[in-house]
């Protein structure tokens, strides 16, 4: 397991802090919206910010096979925000407004989709992203030696039991046809209510060994470890055009979804608190300053949510829009 001491620069640490804090405040606002009746369902990723914000900052962002493709899941809030997504758009998806740019009121919150950044539509179906990843990775590989684009596919530990996870391992390691595919497993030790220890005898990352795929397990609550490990893994995949499996042990700070209450759990490590501790120790920000930043962020999102709640809902006739594409968008450059 990769742990300390990988020290990041103060400016990067503060940048990560901003992104993680924004993601946390957004998730807490989304949960509040659900509890106040301004959304039907919440699912998200509080507890995964250290890894996901790092990922978002490291993505080679753009459109087409020269850039990274992202097959994410419904806990990837911090990744999208760190890539530059407007948090107000996530509020819109929560409120299922017609202005929701990801699905126009059709999908649950945190189900992102953004072709301009190669973010494929997030599906609630567990594991399917691992079956699609070899396709985009093959396109990345074809983009040529000078191209640095890779495919990043992410899912939870429980989802690795799906056959699609094996599909990704097999297809990305075909002898002589290896693919530039970074597989990330965020291991929160849970599958809804079932502890991982009851379902998995294996060490997930070790499954990659059977395919000759390089792999690592990291502490997903330590942002410096996350950023460094992701950076190394991405450099490896970019330069060798071969797959890598990264398993990160993360926390699940508000349970599975709103269906299980979405209440704060207190017996799991909080990556944001750890980072605040680190920042205070290094003297980069005072505790007061961090408290103020969090209060400001919370306030701003609360005000944004009020405005979003006034935005128009889609109309019933909208259901027939976009059943079929009339243009070949993915071939237009």
């Amino acid at each position: 397991m990769l742990t300390r001491n990988c020290t990041l620069s103060p400016s990067l640490l503060l940048k990560l802090y901003d992104q993680m804090l924004l993601a946390r405040c957004l998730e807490e606002r989304l949960i509040q919206m659900h509890k106040q009746g301004d959304g039907f369902f919440w699912v998200g990723g509080p507890g995964e910010e250290a890894l996901n914000a790092s990922l978002g900052l490291l993505v080679h962002k753009g459109r087409g096979p020269e850039y990274d493709y992202l097959h994410l899941h419904y806990r990837s809030t911090a990744t999208l925000l760190a890539m530059g997504a407007d948090p107000v758009d996530a509020l819109r998806q929560m409120k299922n407004t017609a202005s929701d740019p990801y699905s126009r009121g059709r999908n649950f919150c945190n189900h992102y989709s953004k072709r301009a950044w190669n973010v494929l539509p997030v599906s609630s179906t567990i594991g399917v992203q691992f079956a699609m990843a070899p396709g985009t990775a093959l396109a990345n590989k074809r983009a040529g030696a000078a191209s640095k684009g890779i495919t990043i596919v992410q899912g939870g530990d429980a989802g690795t039991a799906e056959g699609d996870f094996s599909t990704c391992l097999i297809w990305s390691s075909l002898p002589g046809r290896e693919l530039p595919c970074l597989m990330i497993v965020t291991n929160n030790q849970w599958g809804i209510s079932t502890p991982a220890a009851h379902m998995h005898a294996e060490r997930i990352a070790s499954r990659a060994d059977a395919f000759g795929i390089r792999n690592a397990v990291v502490d997903g609550n330590d942002v410096e470890v996350c950023y460094t490990a992701l950076s190394h893994a991405m450099d490896y995949v970019r330069s060798t055009r071969r797959p890598f499996l990264l398993e990160a042990n993360v926390s699940r700070l508000y349970g599975h979804t709103s269906a299980s209450g979405a209440n704060r759990v207190t017996d799991e490590v909080d990556c944001l608190e750890l980072l605040e501790e680190r920042i205070a120790t290094l003297g980069l920000l005072t505790r007061d300053r961090m408290r103020q930043q969090r209060a400001d962020c919370t306030h701003q999102l609360r005000e944004s949510a009020k405005l979003v709640c006034e935005e128009a809902q889609p109309s019933g006739e909208d259901i027939y829009r976009d059943v079929f594409a009339t243009r070949d968008l993915v071939h237009e450059q």
């Binding site: 399917v128 074809r142 097999i170 059943v323 009339t326 993915v330």
Partner: protein, 353 residues
């Protein structure tokens, strides 16, 4: 005259030469075999995949969305059932992203009975396929349609399922169904594009210069004109309908046969026009009869054309049993046969309201 399987191969070649096909992927589609029905022999972008239908469909989705143009194959539609949720995902990419993404892929699958394929090489897929919104579904019944619909499927910006009736793959078309540019002589065509038996490592096909004919998706074909009763069918059953129509003609019943060719979006205008002419209709296919595509068409016929009908419309389809049994009598009892189709036509034509 090309067979249907040669027509598919010719179209895939034109697809990769002129329509930007980047991948023809599936089990055994690449060298040395070139498809278990020879459908991909000599196709230069064909490559063999692991025995993993979910991987085949998923990878095709990824390729399509990354600007490639894949044609994926499931070796028999009987093995596509484990991929239904991925098919739903592909069909929903455009809709669920509110039009941000599209997923231009083709999925081809041999379907249906007629080759004594037993329980797991005889399934139909049209009932399943038409229940997955966001997909277009085509099902040719002759080489010319097989050719033109393949190119249409490749050119379409949406996922298109291409259901190939496996019992028709070696059937030749009529003179009117000649592919523009194919050699007159079938032996000459065979020498050009059929891989030799045995070692074929040094073999290269010589492709005839066939046209870029794209048949519009969504257009039915009147396979036989008639005035007394309409049969709406597709795939292998379109041929059964024609044979039954000939039999009925001997007894003075003049049946019109509509070959739908496209199931989604289907040509309601053509169906409607024919029903308005004959006022009697049979919907014929070989998928299992409960929650069957023909039932949907029948429902629309009843709802929209009730007062124009002169006989209760019918569906003739496969028995609602788990599979097609191997023994001859079992297969014959499981899917519509010419005799019973002809009988239905006579009964419909002679029904007195």
């Amino acid at each position: 005259m090309a067979t249907m399987v040669q027509a598919m191969r010719l179209a895939l070649h034109v697809g990769e030469e002129r329509f930007g096909v980047t991948d023809v992927l599936g089990q055994d589609v690449g060298p040395p075999l070139g498809g278990i029905f020879t459908q991909t022999q000599g196709i230069k972008t064909a490559w063999n995949t692991p025995l993993d239908e979910r991987g085949i469909v998923g990878t095709a989705i990824g390729l399509a969305m990354a600007g490639q143009r894949p044609v994926a194959e499931i070796q028999f539609c009987d093995y596509a059932f484990n991929s239904i949720d991925l098919l739903k995902l592909a069909g929903g990419m455009c809709w669920s992203s509110a039009g941000d993404w599209n997923c231009p892929m083709v999925l081809m699958m041999p379907v249906g009975s007629g080759i004594r394929g037993s329980i797991y090489h005889s399934h139909s897929f049209d009932a399943q396929a038409t229940r997955i919104p966001g997909w277009k579904v085509v099902m040719p019944s002759n080489p010319l349609d097989a050719y033109g619909l393949m190119l249409a499927a490749i050119a379409d910006p949406n996922p298109v399922m291409y259901l190939a009736p496996k019992a028709l793959l070696r059937v030749r078309g009529t003179a009117a169904q000649r592919i523009p540019g194919e050699p007159e002589d079938q032996q000459a065509l065979s020498k050009m594009i059929d891989a030799p038996l045995g070692d074929r490592s040094a073999w290269v096909p010589r492709w005839p210069d066939t046209s870029s004919l794209v048949l519009p998706i969504g257009q039915a074909r009147v396979a036989r004109e008639g005035t007394d009763v309409t049969v709406v069918s597709y795939g292998r059953m379109a041929h059964i309908a024609l044979q039954a129509a000939e039999r009925a003609a001997n007894e003075g019943v003049d049946a019109e046969v509509i070959d739908l060719r496209t199931l989604i979006p289907y040509d309601w205008e053509a169906i409607q026009e024919s029903i308005r002419k004959t006022r009697r209709v049979l919907f014929l296919n070989e998928d299992t009869e409960v929650t069957n595509f023909g039932e949907h068409l029948l429902r629309r016929a009843v709802e929209e054309l009730f007062y124009e009908l002169e006989a209760p419309p019918r569906v003739l389809a496969g028995a609602h049993v788990p599979g097609i049994g191997l023994a001859d009598a079992l297969e014959r009892a499981s899917v519509p046969q010419v005799d019973e189709v002809a009988l239905s036509l006579r009964e419909l034509a002679r029904h007195v309201p």
